[in-house]
Structures are given as C-alpha cells and as structure tokens.
Symmetry: C2
Subunit: 368 residues, 2 copies
Amino acid sequence: VKEGELVFPNEPVVRVEGNIIETQLAETLLLNLLNFESLIATKASRIRQAAGDRTLIDFGFRRAHGPGGVQASKAAISGGIDSTSNVLSAFRYGLESSGTMAHSWVQSFEDEITAFRAFAEIYPDHCILLVDTFDTLNSGLPNAVEIGLELRRKGHELLGIRLDSGDLGHLSKKSREMLDRAGLTEVRIIASNQLDEYVIQDLLRESAPIDAFGVGTSLITGQDTGALDGIYKLCSINGKPTLKKSENPAKVTLPGIKKLIRFFSGEGYFLADGIALEEETEVTDFYDPGNPGSSIYLDGYHAETLLEKVMDQGSLAGGMSPPEKVAAYSRERMRALPAELKYLTEPHNYRTGISRKLLNLKTELLEN
Amino acid sequence: VKEGELVFPNEPVVRVEGNIIETQLAETLLLNLLNFESLIATKASRIRQAAGDRTLIDFGFRRAHGPGGVQASKAAISGGIDSTSNVLSAFRYGLESSGTMAHSWVQSFEDEITAFRAFAEIYPDHCILLVDTFDTLNSGLPNAVEIGLELRRKGHELLGIRLDSGDLGHLSKKSREMLDRAGLTEVRIIASNQLDEYVIQDLLRESAPIDAFGVGTSLITGQDTGALDGIYKLCSINGKPTLKKSENPAKVTLPGIKKLIRFFSGEGYFLADGIALEEETEVTDFYDPGNPGSSIYLDGYHAETLLEKVMDQGSLAGGMSPPEKVAAYSRERMRALPAELKYLTEPHNYRTGISRKLLNLKTELLEN
C-alpha cells in the first residue's frame, strides 16, 4: 500500500490528511460519529426552534439505538436541549440530568396521594408529580394540589406536575386553572408523550400553558430521517486531485484540497456557503455545479473560512469542546440563520456553490 | 422504598420479577436493548423475506447510531442477514465478516486495471471488484473481465463484482451478459446503494441477476419506523394485580402475572397468540380487550407457552444464545408464520386476545 498525502472530503465539512492506511482507518468511525451526532443535534435544533424558550428534556434512552443513546443525549444538548434523563450520559459528558417519577412509583403505593407524599418527603425542593396514572383531572391534579399546599406549609414549593398522556393542550389548560385557583401559580407544567417539533408547535399555537417538554423517541432516533448520508471520498493523492465519477451528476465528488467559505449579509445573517480550492485567495463568484450557468456574486460581503484543525499528528488540537460550549455556539449561529431557512416545513434552500476554478478542475477531470 | 415481588410486563414478552429497586434498575436498559434489537432483527427479517435465498450483507455502520451499530449488526444477523462489514461486531459476537473494496482503493492507483490487479494479487481467492468508480459498463466491467481471466490462468477464480450506483437492474443484466460471454459464469454479482426490502423486491421481480445485496442505512437504523415503542409497566405488587389506567383504552395495561400462549393450525402454522393469567390451566377462548364481544375459540389446537427464563437470581439461565442459533430459530419460526402475515405492504393482522379471566380482572380493576 502506498503512502503519501491524502485528503478525503466530499464537501469539506471534514478534511482528513494522512497516508492511506491512516485515512482509511478513520473513515468508518468518522462517518458513524459525524452522521449520527449531526442527525441528533439537527433534530434537537428543530425541536428548540419549535419550543422557543420553554425547557426541553431528553427522555429518549429507552427507545435509543443501544449504547448510541448515550452519545445521542450529548448531541441533543449540543443542538439545543436543556437536560437529559440519561444519567450515564450526564455523568460521562457533564450534562445536566433531569427527570420526574415513574408510573410504577405511583402504582407501588396503596394510593396516589400516599405515593405523591412519599416522593415529596424525599425531594421537597425538586418535586415533580406524574399525574396521569389513574385520572389526570379527577385524581392526579387534586392530589398534586394537596401535596403542593402541604409542601408550602413546610416552607417548600412544589416544582411541577407532569402530564404524560391524553390531550396535552386541554389538560395543561385545565391543570393551570386548578393550580392557579389553589394559589400554586409557580408550579410548572411538564408535558411528554410522543412529542416532536410539530406537536410542540401545535401545542404552543393553541397557547397550551406548558413550561417544559420531555421529548423521547423522535429526538433520540432523529425521526423521520433516521440517518444522515454523509460520505467520505478520496479527493487528492500525492498532491494530484482526483474524483469519483457517477452517472448521477449529484454524486460526482469535488476534486482537490478545498476550503469552505461562508458569506454574511450586512445585517450579519448567513448569505451563502461556497467551496473553493485551498490555494484560492479572492473568490467572489460561486457556481451551481449542476447548472454552471447559474451563479452567485458575493463581492464585498464579509466572509469567513469555516474549517478548523481538530486533530494534528494524532493529538487533539485545541481540546474537546464541552457540549454546553457547542450548544452556546449553535444557539448563536442559529440566530444568524435567516428565518425562512428555519421553517419546520418547506424551508427555503440555502444558497451554495463552488468556485470557478473548482468547477473548471472538476470539468477537466470528468472529461479525461 | 418497599420490597417485595414485582412483575413488570405489559404484554408478557418479558417478565421481570424482583424487589422494586432491582426491577427499576433493569427498566431502561431492558427497554433500550429489546426495543432496539427487535427493531433491527425485524427489519432484517423483512429484507430476508424480499431477498429469498440471495446472500445479504450488512453494510450499515457508517450510518448507524454510534456504537449502537455494533449491536445492530448482531441483531441483523439474528434476523436473517448473512454477514456484516462491521469487523468489531463480527469479532465481538462471532459473526461472519464480509466486504469488498472502497472507491478510494481504485482512486489511489494510477488507473482502474492496476487497482484491480493489485487487489487480485492480495486476495486471489476472495476477490470482489467494485466496478463503478469511473464507468461501470465501459471501464469497470471490461477491466473486471480481464482480471477474471488473469486469475483463471493462475488457477484462481474471480469471486464477484460489485455494483454500487446507477440502475442496478439494467447494470446487473448487462454485467451478467459480459461476464458470461467471457466464460466467467460463476462470478457473482453483488449490488448495493440505498437498498431496502422494497427495492430488492422490485429488482428480483424484474429478474435482476443479482446474487448478493449489501444493505446499509435502512437496515442498521430500522427505517422507516426507526424505533419500537415497547414499554415496561408494573402489573403486580406483593401478589396484588395492578394496572395503569389511560383515557386511551389501548394504553391501559394488563394486570397480574401472566403467560403468553401460541396456538398452531393443523398444518403447523401460527394461528393466534393469547395472554392469560399465570395460574390459568385450560384456556380456549381469547377476547379482544378493546371489543370484548369479539372472541376466538381455539379448543383442540396445539398450544405452546412462550416465556422462557433467561435470568435467575442474577445469573444467566441456560447461557446466551449465539446469533447464528437465534437466526436458525427465527428462520424456522418465520416458516410457520402464514404467508399473508409476511406481506411487506398491508400484511393481515395476526389474531391476538386475552383470556376471559384476565379480561374480568382488568374490568374489575378499571371499575375501582
């Protein structure tokens, strides 16, 4: 097997240089990590878009793909979820852990009020009561109100109630009324049960007074997509650009060592991303590789190059970013993404292209 | 926290007995394992249904959910896939590993024929050539034929070619013709690229001469479902049956310690599954819990109870079943599942029900 400089990007989101054995060994693991964690972080970001500033909790591990769920919780928090019920993930990655009680807690006592009272004794300042084991409005809520008033008499406050079935919009409104009538105006309402960004959007559109959402299956498995199709392709060998041809023009890879450039509007919003060859200095025009007649002219706009070195000679360059730092970065960047690109259904397409030189190199290699 | 015998089935596919801390600690891990591995094994079984006796290879790790992919490959083989490209999974679980070459192998040589020849020298008896890096029919196939004839002159046989893009039906037919014309009639054709049970069914319906399918994303992520919604509920405490109520009748759990009984037709096919209380001896009628007027009468049919003890006092009872043993069992049981339940689209519903005694117990607890 030959040695030499190799570069394996398709779109240079990740660029790997090394001899062929090193770069091949990295392929499967990198694809697995990046495809999976990007999928979950993207789903988390969509759910965050829908939920606004409500609290979001990852409840997904029991439906996650084996131990992948431990990583998924980290990716979920990187993408905008606040905390996780996955205690191993919280321990391993320093995440905030959070949860309520199980139906089995309630069922394992002689009645609901006894179960609630036992829980409140253990967690007087972090007590969230699951109110749907028997009958949400006729049993769970009255019992929760009673415990809330008992806690207050002892100098504590009930933290919240959790709705886990039924019409969450209706039940949250009725619950809010019952709690407020008892003076428990600060008790939070947490909702869960097959939630995703669309259900959350609908609930908030009907002004459901829900303060926190527990999101499970759809978050932790990245539904409905379930997988990102990132690939890893050889694009330069010993300094010589190479590409993979395909009968499908969209699957022809981009040759050469490349960089990724992002342009910003005067107001600081993302305007377009373009791919150029590493050695290019001034790039102002980007072309659609599938339709080279169509181009974007970006002269004068502020630009950033996006690739950062994360590994150098087998060592981490700059250290690992903890999930909360990634989350803060992602939050800031999401604000710079134009609103029409964040629509949950039918978002506009982001403008992307490749430089003239890269287009010419690709055409030349395809014609050989 | 109280101690005592607890049983946590919903439908008694898994029954867990122990004190409440033990049974709660097992909850999340058991749900994660059983939901996930059942999902992947079921998907594998569907792909096997479509593929008949063709060889099936798991190619999915780069799209799998992190380390969950290692378990997924095991579950895929339990469900009917023959081998996996995931070498860690193969090593860990004793599975057959299998794979071809990468496009980067071909691109890292000066031309395709040199790349093919170098591969054939290393693997003269296990040589599968990936023929779509440049042009499948005009470059890949002629070069593969040349290598096949070279190998034969040296006393070896080319094992196969792999198609990884384009119209797999058309390309496989043309490839078969070209190989046969050169006398390479035993060279196998392997196809991959976004395959699932539906694409495989279509390819075989048009008589595509494909001998083996590499299946990736859809298998390893269990698309389109992506998750199984198994749950874990308390149904008996200190010998007292309990259930979780719900406004949604389908979500009311079944109380008490139960068993699962399967009935067989005279021809040995599965006829119906029923759930009864553990202590019931003669059960011949099963009722639809959502519609108790509707019942199935099964007197005289051969019946089996399905639960087996797998853990006893913290130790494995009977040892772990290796994946190939699970696969053989699954193959045998799938033969006993009537054809109309195996339709890939719109399968008939399998008949299920609960015993009269269990129905009565449930009704009684719901009325309290």
